[in-house]
């Protein structure tokens, strides 16, 4: 197994495009995590000058809520990771190097496993970034901080890891059926921002949360901030394990279909 990850690593170690894209993405995430408080403060101050009700100042960075806040934010950016993974997947078809792998002696199953491991490694790296960023933000912004406070909602970074892995199985499927970078990225964006939102709108409320990207996105729901309470909305405050179950079921389905295609089609 690790041998397969080692092969994937050899393909990427000197691939500049990959490191530039991933570096930019991780940099953007850090910028968002550390800048979002300033942005929110700006908005609340501006609004307060016009608003009849005072909107309370709030800190996004206090333990334990920081975990929920930044993982929810990070959820919006996983499309970028999806695009990076799609580029790596479709490269193997564009350069025909998938043939190099199979002719060299990998089984089709090995190839699938290698890419699934690579995908997991990418998701882990992102989760680790969140863990580090969250710790720095939490420890520097929480009054009378204790380790217990830091650990209270630590489930969120792990839930985010699950969210990313489930999501990347969906991306893996798209890359495997379409094979061309442009087409695959196009379909991913079209589905994410147009097709599934329309489906959600048309389908009954009982079903729409279980659409693939909805299920994945609902694992970590909108944080229950003071801002929301002002509007009288109460959101679910923990990790949604029901959504995680649905997302995992989709991941198994997409993973299974991807495996079937890789196993049975001409390469």
């Amino acid at each position: 197994m690790l041998h397969l990850l080692h092969i994937e690593q050899k393909k990427l170690l000197k691939y500049k495009t990959f490191w530039i894209l991933t570096g930019l993405f991780f940099g953007l995430m850090v910028l968002v995590f550390f800048g979002v408080q300033g942005f929110i403060n700006e908005v609340t101050q501006n609004t307060n000058t016009k608003s009849p009700v005072a909107i309370p100042e709030m800190s996004l960075y206090q333990f334990p809520d920081v975990w929920h806040n930044i993982t929810f934010l990070a959820g919006y950016f996983k499309t970028i990771l999806g695009i990076i993974f799609l580029i790596l997947l479709t490269n193997e078809y564009t350069f025909k190097t998938i043939r190099l792998n199979i002719i060299g002696g990998l089984s089709r199953r090995d190839y699938f496993t290698g890419k699934a491991l690579l995908m997991t490694a990418l998701a882990l790296a992102l989760a680790l970034l969140i863990l580090v960023a969250g710790s720095i933000l939490g420890f520097t912004n929480t009054k009378d901080v204790t380790l217990l406070m830091a650990m209270e909602k630590i489930a969120f970074p792990f839930a985010y890891l699950a969210e990313t892995i489930c999501y990347l199985f969906f991306v893996f499927f798209i890359g495997t059926i379409l094979r061309k970078a442009g087409l695959a990225i196009g379909l991913l964006l079209l589905y994410t921002y147009i097709i599934e939102p329309i489906l959600s709108f048309k389908l009954p409320d009982k079903i729409s949360p279980y659409l693939p990207l909805n299920a994945v996105g609902n694992i970590i729901q909108v944080p229950n901030t003071q801002l929301m309470r002002v509007f009288g909305v109460e959101f679910y405050d923990g990790v949604s394990y029901a959504s995680m179950g649905a997302a995992a079921a989709w991941a198994v389905l997409f993973g299974g279909m991807t495996y079937y295609i890789l196993k049975n089609k001409d390469l």
């Binding site: 190099l100 002696g105 089984s107």
Partner: protein, 299 residues
């Protein structure tokens, strides 16, 4: 009995209505330099693609080293399929390291294979900067990296200049001399004649002939003969010094004769021995001529 290397049993594959491969059977044994000869579109690359698990057959099976094929077999095989494929953004060495990692071999032979293929000086340059000839040679270096028992080459001299062609052919002959089994697809008759020991000729996905190169691609004259008593005819033909060999085909005998012998002359010789032939025909075309016609008609 030589050890089996590859057995192909009834492989068929279609692309839509086009039959790329139609019930192909082949046997390749250890030490052979086996040419798969045929015009473009005859199913050569499809065959190689299937036995390397890059393409899936509609029907049929293939066996490597006498066992049902699995991925472990391919670690014992070095292969090139169609054009050379490598990661363009990596150097020759880094690409070869990936092949070594896949095959589970060390990098000890890296410089050797780069030396053999004349790429040692350019080994740190990125693959995308390589010329076509260099790419082809790197593909051969990659195929040789793991000390393979079998080498599969798909049109290895395609697109090379005359000097490059000569170099590659010489390289193949040297590799074959080390006892490595070579399976080579080619559309060039003279290439197969120069390099191979055995050959199968494909046309539109069907095997039309197979055997040793001498058997299949000989350029000797052949005459079909038949008589009421085939046994007597056969022994008589074999006694004639002008007849080089005799084989039976259905109820006819095929006599390979010296170039000076015409059907009339053979008839006269037989008549002198009290045999009346009831069928006598110069074979219109040897397979070689047939193949040349095929390829020239195509192009």
């Amino acid at each position: 009995m030589k050890k089996p290397v590859l057995s192909i049993a009834g492989l068929s594959k279609s692309y839509g209505s086009l039959k790329a491969l139609d019930d192909l059977h082949l046997e390749i044994t250890e030490g052979q330099v086996f040419g798969i000869l045929g015009p473009n579109g005859s199913g050569k690359t499809t065959t190689l693609g299937i036995i390397l698990d890059v393409l899936r057959p509609d029907r049929g099976a293939y066996y490597w080293f006498g066992e049902p094929a699995h991925s472990g077999h391919r670690k014992r095989i070095g292969a090139i399929l169609e054009e050379p494929v490598f990661y363009p953004y990596l150097s020759a060495v880094d690409n070869l390291k990936i092949i070594a990692a896949i095959k589970g071999t060390d990098n000890a032979k890296m410089d050797d294979v780069l030396e053999i293929t004349g790429l040692l000086e350019r080994k740190s340059d990125k693959f995308k900067t390589y010329s076509f000839g260099m790419r082809q040679r790197l593909a051969i270096a990659g195929a040789l990296l793991s000390d393979p028992e079998v080498l599969i080459l798909d049109e290895p001299t395609n697109g090379l200049d005359p000097q490059g062609i000569a170099e590659i052919r010489e390289l193949i002959t040297r590799i074959a001399a080390r006892g490595i089994t070579i399976i080579m697809a080619s559309h060039m008759l003279d290439e197969v004649q120069k390099v191979c020991t055995h050959v199968a000729i494909l046309q539109k996905g069907k095997k039309i002939a197979a055997g040793s190169v001498e058997e299949v691609l000989h350029d000797k004259k052949t005459i079909e003969v038949a008589a009421n008593n085939l046994e007597k005819l056969q022994s008589t033909l074999m006694s004639l010094k002008e007849v080089l060999s005799v084989t039976q085909e259905n109820n006819k005998l095929i006599a390979t004769v010296e170039d000076t012998i015409t059907p009339e002359a053979l008839n006269k010789l037989l008549f002198e021995k009290n045999i009346v032939a009831n069928h006598l025909a110069l074979r219109k075309k040897s397979l070689e001529k047939y193949f040349l016609d095929l390829t020239t008609n195509q192009s």
